[in-house]
């Protein structure tokens, strides 16, 4: 628990978009991909992924289709739509600006004031 950070609210959607942007994935695959690209630093409750996926599909950011997985099982694959790609770009920029701002705020030293 201590080695894994909890997700800030709203960041799950961004992570899902990022994971899917690298290629179509099914739900479990998305979890694995997020674990892989975050170097297992982020904790995501497995079930909590699905409401987020349904929400993103409904917003038109993702599209879903049934296919066969690498394990030879039927699975629902998600990929980014054009809108989703645009949203990912915007959110990434926004996140970076926020993170930079917070990082520099936190890095402030007494003598700099």
């Amino acid at each position: 628990m201590s080695s894994q950070a909890r997700l800030l609210p709203g960041t799950l959607d961004l992570l899902v978009l990022k994971a899917v942007s690298l290629g179509p994935l099914h739900g479990y695959g998305i979890l694995l991909r997020i674990g892989q690209i975050s170097e297992r630093a982020l904790l995501i409750e497995q079930g909590a992924l699905y409401p987020a996926l349904f929400r993103l599909v409904r917003q038109g950011l993702l599209k879903a289709s049934w296919g066969t997985s690498e394990n030879n099982r039927r699975a629902k694959f998600y990929e980014l739509t054009a809108v989703g790609r645009k949203r990912l770009r915007e959110e990434t920029d926004g996140w970076n600006r926020l993170a930079d701002a917070i990082a520099s705020a936190l890095a402030a030293q007494p003598e700099e004031i």
Binding site: H26, G27, Y28, G29, E45, Q46, G47, A48, Y50, P51, A52, F54, R55, R58, S69, N71, R73, R74, A75, K76
Partner: protein, 844 residues
């Protein structure tokens, strides 16, 4: 766009629910399988791996619910869930549900009925094209009366109306070849149908071009209903000749269905040109500018862009011009406009219906207060259930939504029941003919608007009483409630309900007081002094209907009176021209001047007494007591000096006192000097609620009229007497249609408005009383059941019966006292307003 999306997903959620559920199921299963595959690869056996994968995944149901919510179809689904659950809860507390539904059914039903009346009489326009711009003119104190010459000047001199039409009532004997019968018709100006922009469904209408002076257009246009009932919808009716009061008229057309004339609650049998009015009424009104009996209403379409206020200014300007030009015959009274359909009845009807609407909404408010407190009580009873649900992770919003669903369900069922009964009642009212033999109807058939209003009222009331327990639920602390049970804080928590109960009792007390005042008023007016005996028998006959004219009329009338006096058991008989006092709200007034007045212009008028032309013996027959002087004799005819008998008020107003009056003189509009020969007691003339009015009685021989009422005093059984009267009159002239009725039954018509008012107020008052009873009962029963444990302990500790009662019911009684006191005070204040309102309302 978003809305569209939402709709689509809602629709998809509804129609493909099972498919989506299946897919969701499969997707989650696939996830767990994939995870298990990984776990197997790390060395676990398949069964352990699958169990472990499921545990890691977490609560599937919870996530599915979240997924459904994310999909958007959830609103409808949770609504269905809420409805199902509410139904179960409501079935469990059956008594509460029934009481709540009945209460609402009554309250919403009452509102729907009142709204139906409002809708039928005020909101719904006449069934003619562009009814919105159709306005009728009113003169002075809300009356449409006008003379025909004045109408013509108004029509030609105004600049605000496209065209002005006018009409008056005529009551005629119709002879179609077989049995003669009476009918009510509109005598209209030639342009009547053109102003209304109507087309006949059969034959043609008459037009202005058909009018070529008096009695030039002997045509009849049948109303659809009369064509149907009297002529069996015969298509060959056009061209047929019928006799109206013995004069031949040709049927030229039939008006369309749905057109019942231009007065909402009187449906004429047919229409005829007003230029032929003399043929059916015996005397021409076309040239007498001073007679306001010529026209009942003048109306027309406003020109485009003209407001009713501008038109009224225009009409008043014409009125001022007319007064200047004809000072002896016309006194201008300020005019106003009102939508055609109710004419001079509009004001009182509107005031009355508005008052009813107010009372009905008070009833609904009281019902909501009642249900609100019941609901809050019920919610408090269920605080344990609410706490459990909160503890298990349900959101407060969801619980509130469910409570509100219960409220909406109850109010919808109650509203439907109320609407159902109100529709039945309204349909009965529209079919009802309050005075058999008259064309009076209440056009209150319910339409879509009534349904919509009832639905809206149901929803509004659901929210009103549904939000009462909200605060209670929001404050619920699951931990406390589950641990300790629903105890303590009774006193504090009851305050909202207390306020509601006080409010409700106050409202109900207002209603009850108001209805009591109304009933007392009616009773008082029923047993007041009318100035005549109410069980006197009346027989109306219009000699014009049998072809009499000129000198034949008074001769025949004298023979009729003498014939009545020879009937066994008859003490005295007399006659009054046109209508006796208090009949059908009709009364003629005339201007009189003091004897010394020389300039007989409108500004010098000393009084406007009611005028009755009567035969010798009328006062005896009617039971009107003579205070001084003498009755008329058969010698008081056109050859004798003009004389009059006046009532006490007239004598007091013009002639000093009763004893001084006899022998003194006054003047009529035409300058005639009249000697007062007698004084009679005061009476009621136009309405039973009027203040004492002056009246004068003139000898009928000086101004004969073919329409008259015979007044017959007898101790015989009314039905026998009526039959004997009809038999004797048939012996005199078999072709004369005669109606017999007691004076009492004519009073029914005059008292109808106040009866209607009293009945409606009484019903509303009773509902108010019932509501407050159930409210108090519910509150007391609830507080006792809540404190049963406490009361038990008190008894166990030795409390006396009286103390226990006081503990249990003291509060309820205190609230009752506060509420009733407030309600009584308000009620007395309100009834003052009501009485004022009613007395002005029922003048007409």
């Amino acid at each position: 766009m978003k809305i569209l999306f939402w709709f689509r997903s809602v629709a998809a959620g509804l129609f493909h629910r099972s498919r989506i559920e299946d897919e969701m199921e499969e997707e989650l299963r696939s996830h767990i399988q994939h995870r298990a595959d990984d776990l197997v690869r790390s060395g676990l056996d398949r069964a352990t791996a699958e169990r472990r994968a499921r545990v890691e995944f977490g609560g599937q149901l919870r996530f599915k619910e979240a997924c459904r919510e994310a999909l958007g179809g959830t609103f409808i689904e949770s609504l269905i869930q809420d409805v199902r659950f509410s139904l179960r809860v409501l079935r469990k507390s059956f008594g509460f549900t029934v009481v709540a539904i009945l209460t609402l059914a009554l309250a919403i039903g009452a509102n729907a009925v009142v709204f139906g009346v409002l809708n039928g009489l005020i909101l719904r326009p006449l069934h003619v094209p562009q009814a919105g711009s159709l306005y009728g003119t009113e003169y002075g104190a809300g009356s449409g009366w006008q003379s025909y010459p004045n109408y013509r000047d108004l029509r030609d001199r105004n600049r605000s109306f496209d065209d002005l039409a006018a009409w008056k009532f005529v009551f005629v004997g119709v002879d179609t070849g077989n049995e003669p019968s009476r009918a009510t018709a509109f005598a209209t100006t030639g342009n009547y149908f053109d102003v209304l922009k109507l087309q006949p469904i059969l034959g043609r209408f008459y037009h202005s071009q058909d009018e070529h002076g008096p009695n030039s257009a002997p045509y009849v246009v049948l109303s659809y209903g009369y064509w149907y009932s009297r002529f069996q919808a015969d298509h060959d009716v056009v061209g047929r000749v019928v006799r109206l009061n013995k004069r031949p008229f040709t049927i030229i057309g039939v008006a369309p269905p749905g057109f019942y004339g231009t007065l909402l609650f009187v449906h004429p049998d047919f229409f005829m040109p007003i230029v032929n009015q003399e043929q059916v009424e015996g005397a021409s009104l076309l040239n007498s500018r001073g007679s306001n009996g010529g026209i009942f209403e003048v109306f027309g379409h406003l020109k485009a862009g003209i407001t009713p206020a501008q038109a009224a200014v225009d009409l008043n300007a014409v009125g001022v011009y007319l007064e200047r030009t004809y000072p002896k015959e016309f006194a201008h009274k300020s005019s106003s406009l009102s939508p055609t359909g109710l004419n001079s009845f509009g004001r009182p009807v509107r005031a009355f219906v508005a008052g009813l609407m107010l009372l009905a909404s008070l009833i609904l408010l009281a019902a909501c207060a009642n249900l609100g407190s019941l609901f809050a009580a019920q919610a408090a009873d269920r605080s344990r259930e609410v706490a459990l649900r909160l503890a298990l992770g349900s959101s407060r919003q969801r619980i509130l939504r469910q409570l509100l669903t219960e409220a909406v369900l109850i109010s919808l069922v109650g509203g439907a029941a109320g609407l159902q009964s109100s529709v039945v009642l309204l349909q009965w009212l529209s079919a009802w003919n309050p005075f058999p033999g008259t064309p009076i109807h209440l056009p209150v058939t319910p339409d879509a608007k009534v349904y919509v209003v009832a639905l809206a009222l149901a929803l509004v009331s659901a929210f009103l009483f549904g939000i009462v327990p909200v605060r209670q639920v929001l404050r619920t602390d699951p931990y406390q409630v589950v641990k300790a049970g629903p105890t303590g804080r009774i006193g504090r928590r009851a305050t909202v309900r207390d306020a509601l109960l006080v409010l409700q009792i106050a409202i109900c007390a207002v209603l009850v007081t108001a209805s009591m005042v109304a009933v007392r008023g009616l009773v008082r007016s029923l047993y007041g002094k009318f100035g005549f005996e109410r069980n006197t028998m009346l027989a109306s006959a219009n000699l014009a209907m049998a072809g009499y004219s000129g000198d034949n009329v008074p001769d025949m009338q004298r023979r009729m009176i003498e014939a009545m006096e020879t009937l066994p058991g008859v003490e005295r008989a007399g006659l009054v021209n046109n209508y006796p006092p208090l009949a059908y709200g009709s009364g003629n007034t005339a201007n009189v001047f003091k004897d010394e007045t020389r300039d007989l212009s409108q500004s010098n008028v000393a009084a406007m007494p009611y005028r009755y032309d009567i035969s010798p013996g009328y006062f005896d027959a009617a039971g009107t007591s003579l205070l001084a002087g003498r009755d008329f004799t058969w010698h008081d005819d056109e050859h004798a000096p003009p004389v009059a008998v006046v009532n006490r008020t007239f004598a007091g107003k013009l002639l000093g006192s009763v004893t001084d009056a006899v022998g003194r003189h006054y003047r009529m509009q035409d300058g005639t000097r009249i000697e007062v020969v007698g004084v009679v007691e005061d009476g009621k003339y136009l309405s039973v609620t009027e203040d004492q009015q002056p009246a004068m009685f003139l000898p009928f021989l000086r101004s004969p009229s073919s329409q008259a009422y015979l007044v017959v005093r007898s101790r015989r059984d009314p039905q026998e007497l009526a039959a004997a009267i009809r038999r004797r009159l048939r012996e005199l002239d078999a072709g004369l249609p005669v109606n017999t009725e007691t004076w009492d039954s004519l009073l029914d018509v005059v008292l109808f408005p106040s009866r209607v008012a009293t009945v409606s107020l009484g019903v509303l008052g009773m509902m108010g009383a019932m509501l407050s009873l159930t409210g108090i009962f519910g509150m007391a029963a609830y507080s006792v059941s809540r404190r049963r444990r406490e009361l038990g302990i008190r008894i166990a500790l030795g409390a006396q019966r009286r103390e226990v009662l006081q503990a249990a019911l003291g509060r309820a009684f205190k609230l009752l006292a506060v509420g009733s006191a407030a309600g009584l005070i308000l009620g007395i204040l309100a009834s003052r307003v009501l009485v004022l309102n009613c007395s002005t309302t029922f003048m007409y």
